[in-house]
Symmetry: C2
Subunit: 328 residues, 2 copies
Amino acid sequence: MIKKALFSCCALAVFAASPAFAQTPAGLPTPDSIVAASSAEEWTEIAPEDVLVMELAPDRDGNERRVVIQLMPAPFSQPWVENIRALARDHWWDETSVYRVVDNWVAQWGDVSEEKPLPEGMVSPDAEYGTYAGNHLPFALGISGRKQQLIERIEGMMVFASQSTFVENAFFQGFPIAGEAGLDQIPSWPMHCYGSVGVARDLAPDTGTGAELYAVIGQAPRQLDRNIAVIGRVIEGMEHLSTLKRGTGDAGVYEDRDEDTAIISVRLASEIPNPPSYEYLSSDSYSFSRYVTLRANRKDEFYQISARGVDICNVQVPVRAIEAEISE
Amino acid sequence: MIKKALFSCCALAVFAASPAFAQTPAGLPTPDSIVAASSAEEWTEIAPEDVLVMELAPDRDGNERRVVIQLMPAPFSQPWVENIRALARDHWWDETSVYRVVDNWVAQWGDVSEEKPLPEGMVSPDAEYGTYAGNHLPFALGISGRKQQLIERIEGMMVFASQSTFVENAFFQGFPIAGEAGLDQIPSWPMHCYGSVGVARDLAPDTGTGAELYAVIGQAPRQLDRNIAVIGRVIEGMEHLSTLKRGTGDAGVYEDRDEDTAIISVRLASEIPNPPSYEYLSSDSYSFSRYVTLRANRKDEFYQISARGVDICNVQVPVRAIEAEISE
C-alpha cells in the first residue's frame, strides 16, 4: 500500500527515512545517499551558545512543540545575535507568544502588547545588514562574481540561481550567503530562505532589537535581504511554526489574543540541562559539494530530466541531532 | 497596538488588506498600489471549466475548508487536465483524502487505498511534460533566450532568477513558464512554485493519471519541473493545505488513516450552483509589468535596498474573487 505515494515526487523523503535505501534501485547516487555515505569528520557540531531552544505551549492534543534555531555565525548580524543571547539569558520571551502568521510569508513572535520592557540598555543596533568583512572569508561552493573560479574548484558543475544578474551566492559555515558581484569591494549578507529567522522592525532606519522575530514559512522572500537582519534559521521543529493557523487581522496578526500560541520558554542550549545538540554537514566538505551537485543534477529512476541548476534556497543544508551518550 | 507587527516585513499584506493605503506614506508605489490602481480591463476572468473547487471536511472548530485550483491553460499539460476534468465530473475524489503532508515540500491527496477504480479507460497519458507548441505563444515579461528583446519590450528592467544559466522564464496567461535557452527549437514547460499543483506518479515512464495530486507548500522545488505534470495552482484556500499536520510515516504519509483530512467533494465550477468566480491580473497588461517591476525593485519607507531582481516563483500573480451580482 501507498506505493504510489512513496515514489510520488518524494525520493528525498523516502531515502532520508531509509538509510538502507541510500541509493536508488539502479544504484544511482542521490543527495541523501551522499549524506548517508559522508564521514563523521565532515560534520561540524553547532556550539551550544549558537542554539536557541524555544518551547511552545503543547498543541491541542497535548504534544510538546520544540522549535530549535541555529544563530548566525560571525561576522554576520552579530549585534542582533548578541541582543538575542541577552534576551534568552533574561528569559525575556517567557510568556510571550507567536502572534502573527501569514501564508507563504512568515510566522512572527515576541511581545504582542509592545509593553514589555527590554533588558536595560538594549536598543536596535546601529549596524549594517551586510558586511565587507566577508571579503576574506573561506566561502565554499560559490563566490561573489568569480563563478569561473568556483567551477574550477569543485567537482562537477554548480550553477546557483542568482536573484539577479548582480548577485552571486555561496555557503559559509553552513549558511547561504549572497554577495554583490562586479565590485572591487564585495559586500555579502545572509539570505532569506525557507526557515530563515529574521528581526522584525518598524520603518527604517530602525533595525529592530531582536525581541520580535519571525521565521520564513514560504518561498524565499529575497527582497527582504539587506532590509532586515537575518539572525539564524530553524533546524528542528519547523512544522510547529509552518502549520500554525494563519492570522486574519491586519498584516496577518491574530485578531484575538486567544489565537496566539504561547511561548513557554526560550533558552540558549548552553544554559539548559541535557540540551539537544546538533551538527551540520560542513559546507566546505567534499560530501557537501557532491550533495549540492546532485541537488542541481537529479538523475535517477524517478528524475528523468536534470534541472542542471538549483536555487541556493532549495539546497537545505543537512543538519542532524547528535545522540547523547549514555553515561553510567 | 501592533504597530511593530504592522510594518515588520509585511508591507505587502498590510496594503493588500487596506486599499486605502495603496501607497506608502511617502507616496511611493508598491506592488499592491499598482494592483489597486489597475483598470478592470486588465483583469481576465478564469473560465468555470478551469476552476476546480475542493471541499475538505470542516476543521476541528467546524470551519469550512474550501481549496480552489485554477487548471493549466493549453497547450500545457492538457492530457492530464482532461483526465482531471473527467475525474471531477465523475465525483471520483468524493470520500478520498489528503493523506500525505511533508514540510517545505507537498500536501498530497487522492485515494490512499490505491484500490478505487478509475473511470473506464483512464490511463496515465503518454505525453511530454513540456511542449514545443509554446514557441509561438504570446509570452509576456520574459522570453526564452531573448532577454534583450524582453528588456526592450517593457518599461523598467526585469531580471528573473534563472534556475540555471540554461533556463529562462516567462508568464503565459498568468502562469509562470520556463523555457530552454540557446536552442533553435525552444521547449517550454510549467513551473513548480509555491501553490503549484502537480500529478503524483510512480517511477518513470509512468506519468500519473491526475487522480493523485499534490500542492507545493514550500520553496519552489524546481527539480520536479519536466519530471512531473504541473496542472494548475491553488488560487484560494492554500492555508487549508499548508497548515495540515505533517505526516510521520514513510515519505510523509500519515501513519494512521484517522490523521487523513477527508475530501467531501471536488467539482468543476462549471458544474455547481452559485460557483465562485475569479479573475487574474493579465500577464500581458501594463499593470502586471509594473507590478513585477516593483516586486523586483522594492524601494519605499520600509525597503531601503532594492534587490534589483526577483525569482519568478516569488512573483505571485494577483488573483481575486469576482463578487456575484445580486439579481432580483
